[in-house]
């Protein structure tokens, strides 16, 4: 008799307890969490490491600064406001343009200065930060996503989540916003996760609400067989992120800008496990293999090569 949990083990699927006890606790030193939890700090470190990120327009740290904000933003038609310590894509406000002195939001609604100010004051008050601690708000370049995804994305910006262990990319998926997810690329909120073949950058089919899906529910576009542009560059970027973050087990989120190519958005020190469902591959065989390696190659190119080899042999 094979119990469901034995079957999951056979498939190499990792549960939350195992992720926390065997990978996050031993490989992610708590003192380095602040580097990835604070997006401002992550951005600075990434720039130093030569990883492209969306350009920072400004930082709001105290309520008083909100008044001067409209002058500061005059030069930009569109921008994104996000909390420095946010998680799960919460508290992100996307302004796509201006119309008669008001801001136009990503979902088509418009907002005035007051509404923007209130949103920023909520961020400063800690509404979206872990533990409700006071936070600061970042205002940055709005990514114009590559049209390669327009047929499989509804509003919002799709992003590519790559799981990196000891500097070796192990699994990747592209997260596609849907009408249900309200333009957010978060699987919990209803985005689609589509697995990516690490070796080729070609998509498999997707998973929506933990169920397999082959077409985008809103646009009807086919999810599988699409080739992600700049794939090798993306893999190299994720491997580099490990080097400056100082964390062994991370999820790196990358977006594709139509003008500037791949950009690193954020690093997650507690990456979710749905990526296994999107790829229909358990994480454990690859994780245990990399864990068993005595030394990991130092150069990024070698690690990307290792990742591709691993993907070929364990899929």
């Amino acid at each position: 008799m094979l119990f469901p949990w034995d079957r999951l083990r056979q498939l190499g699927i990792m549960g939350l307890n195992e992720r926390n006890a065997d990978f996050i606790l031993p490989y992610n030193a708590r003192r380095n969490y602040s580097l990835v939890d604070n997006k401002l700090l992550t951005k600075e470190l990434a720039v130093q490491a030569g990883i492209p990120v969306p350009k920072l327009y400004g930082v709001v740290e105290i309520i008083h600064q909100i008044e001067a904000l409209s002058g500061q933003l005059e030069a930009y038609d569109d921008f994104v406001v996000k909390p420095a310590h946010g998680s799960g894509g919460e508290g992100i406000l996307i302004v796509t343009g201006r119309h008669e002195g008001r801001y136009r939001k990503a979902n088509g609604a418009s907002a005035d200065e007051d509404e923007l100010g209130h949103h920023i004051s909520n961020i400063l008050g800690g509404m979206y930060s872990l533990g409700g601690l006071p936070d600061s708000a970042l205002i940055e370049y709005r990514v114009k996503f590559d049209p390669v995804f327009s047929s499989i994305s509804f509003q919002g910006v799709p992003d590519i989540r790559t799981l990196v262990f000891r500097g070796v990319p192990l699994l990747a998926m592209i997260r596609l916003p849907t009408r249900l997810s309200d333009g957010k690329a978060n699987l919990h909120q209803g985005a689609i996760g589509v697995g990516i073949d690490l070796a080729t950058g070609r998509t498999f089919s997707g998973v929506w609400h933990e169920r397999p899906v082959h077409q985008h529910p809103d646009t009807g576009g086919n999810l599988s067989g699409r080739v992600i542009p700049y794939w090798d560059e993306i893999l190299a970027m994720t491997a580099k992120c490990h080097d400056f973050a100082g964390l062994g087990f991370i999820g790196v989120d990358i977006v594709l800008d139509q003008d500037q190519g791949p950009m690193m958005l954020e690093i997650n020190a507690r990456p979710g496990l749905s990526i296994q469902l999107a790829n229909r591959i358990g994480l454990l065989p690859r994780l245990r293999h990399v864990e068993g390696l005595g030394t990991i190659p130092g150069s990024v190119a070698e690690r990307v090569q290792l990742a591709k080899t691993l993907a070929r042999y364990t899929s």
């Binding site: 469901p4 949990w5 079957r7 999951l8 498939l11 699927i13 549960g15 939350l16 307890n17 195992e18 006890a21 065997d22 919460e90 209130h118 004051s121 909520n122 008050g125 800690g126 509404m127 409700g132 919990h188 909120q189 998973v207 933990e210 169920r211 397999p212 296994q276 469902l277 229909r280 358990g282």
Partner: protein, 510 residues
């Protein structure tokens, strides 16, 4: 490596916890279940006498010393302004009250609380050399009668034991022969009778002595000790019924004192009177064991929770249940995979349920949360800053609690008053988190998490209100080490959560 460390630590904790618990159960007799009751007899000896004018008074009273088949739960002396000393020479135990100058009638009390315990065996502390025999001083007429009787008994017996039986059978026979009739003369009370038997046995070189026995019977108020016979059989003292020759004592007999010395002597007192009263009551076995352990001078009980004032004890009765609730949360979250608002919020709600009772607690909880949520949605429209908004929700929760109490009191539902026992800060945070979840994850998810929390609180209440568990943890707090060990082990549990089997069902199908 770390796994082995945790396992070793857990093993250590479990063994320490269980060993302490085992010791308390087997040695101190603490019961594992709360329902057990024990019968406790309170025996009170009331000593009354008139003090002689201008003379020092010294009262010597023999008291029981580890009665066989009983455990001494507690013992106390009421001695007024007398000085009290107790003495134990290995065979007898006595209390001595002394005062230099006293006038008028005096009353002293000795009280002992006994509980039946078949495991208490007679202690062989007495020296096993045959005791000395005092040659009896019979008058001539009795001397020959005794001799005649002895010769007859000797013929019909094989050893000391059968000799005693045969002698007593003859002495107590309804149709007495002339020798026995003679020997029965001059006997005025049972004490004299026993003394006569002892004298007769002494002529046959069999050592014996008087034993004073108390009958434990509820309601005795002016009782006295019953003289009994103890015969030395060459190895030990054996009790024998002086009227039937049967060995042993009757049911409910407590050996009070042995030997020729009177139970009570009062120097400097006259009209000395002693009365025994016995009352029986049932008591929680835990209390009995606890008092007994203290009587035994056990260090463990001296530093137990029972040594605290009762009001503090009651606080700990509740507090010690929190680890059970916390362990339940660990299981529900890490093994089952339930999601709740706040890690330990359901436990605090469950503690409040202890006072309100489950059904009413759940009704009041839902009522408060629902009203709080409605007002919170209105506050959302006002676009308030975070901390002032949280404070407003807290203030509103307290106002709602007060209103609920007042209205339910007016309407005659006094249960509604207990709403005041809900932890208000926790309620405010729950409302805040639930409204955020409502906004961000949708009403469905918010309700799922809300009812999940309520379900966990109800489960927590069921665990934490269990009389059995409460008794077990309070009497054996060392079991918390076992709970801790299990929690530590779950801290290294890397298996799947039950809900993950559902989450990864797509993989299971493929």
């Amino acid at each position: 490596m770390r796994g082995a460390h945790v396992k070793l630590l857990s093993l250590l904790l479990v063994s320490v916890g269980l060993a302490l618990c085992w010791f308390k159960v087997t040695r101190l007799g603490l019961p594992l279940v709360p329902t057990e009751k024990a019968n406790v007899w309170t025996v009170e000896a009331r000593i009354q006498f008139k003090a002689q004018r201008d003379s020092a008074v010294k009262v010597r009273f023999f008291i029981p010393r580890q009665p066989t088949g009983f455990t001494v739960v507690d013992e106390n002396f009421v001695s007024g302004n007398y000085g009290l000393t107790t003495e134990d020479d290995g065979v007898h135990r006595s209390a001595e009250w002394a005062v230099r100058k006293v006038n008028g009638y005096q009353v002293l009390y000795y009280r002992i609380h006994l509980s039946r315990d078949p495991s208490i065996q007679p202690q062989p502390t007495e020296a096993l050399v045959p005791p000395e025999i005092r040659p009896p001083g019979f008058p001539d007429a009795l001397q020959s009668a005794a001799k005649g009787l002895m010769n007859e008994v000797l013929k019909k017996s094989a050893d000391g034991r059968s000799f005693v039986r045969e002698l007593l059978a003859r002495l107590n026979a309804p149709t007495a022969d002339p020798n026995v009739t003679l020997l029965r003369q001059g006997i005025e009370n049972p004490e004299d009778w026993v003394r006569r038997v002892i004298d007769l046995l002494a002529t046959a070189n069999i050592p014996s002595r008087t034993a004073y026995v108390l009958a434990l019977k509820d309601g005795i108020s002016h009782g006295s000790l019953i003289p009994w016979l103890e015969v030395f059989d060459g190895k030990q003292w054996v009790t024998v019924d002086p009227h039937t020759g049967e060995p042993g004592m009757f049911e409910g007999a407590v050996l009070w004192h042995v030997g020729g010395e009177p139970v009570l002597t009062a120097d400097g007192g006259k009209n000395v009177k002693i009365e025994y009263s016995v009352t029986e009551r049932t008591q929680d076995r835990t209390l009995v064991a606890e008092q007994r352990a203290r009587q035994m001078g056990s260090r463990i009980m001296e530093y137990s929770l029972f040594s605290l004032p009762v009001s503090v004890q009651n606080v700990y009765r509740v507090l010690l249940m929190v680890p059970i609730g916390a362990f339940l949360i660990v299981v529900l979250r890490n093994v089952i995979g339930l999601r709740t608002f706040g890690t330990f919020m359901p436990i605090l709600i469950a503690l409040a349920f202890r006072e309100t009772e489950l059904l009413w607690g759940m009704v009041l909880f839902c009522l408060l949360i629902a009203m709080g949520l409605l007002i919170r949605f209105y506050l959302e429209y006002l676009k308030l800053l975070l901390v002032p908004r949280l404070a407003s929700v807290l203030i509103i929760v307290i106002i709602l609690m007060a209103i609920t109490s007042v209205f339910s009191h007016k309407l005659g539902f006094d249960r509604g008053l207990s709403v005041a026992l809900f932890p208000m800060v926790i309620m405010a945070m729950t409302i805040e988190r639930m409204s955020l979840a409502w906004e961000e994850l949708g009403a469905g998810e918010a309700l799922v998490q809300g009812f999940g929390s309520l379900l966990v609180a109800a489960l927590g209440y069921l665990c934490m209100s269990s009389r059995y568990l409460e008794h077990l943890i309070f009497v054996f707090p060392e079991l918390l080490l076992v709970v801790l060990a299990m929690t530590l082990l779950l801290g290294r549990y890397t298996g799947y959560r039950l809900t993950e089997l559902w989450r990864f069902r797509a993989a299971l199908k493929g």
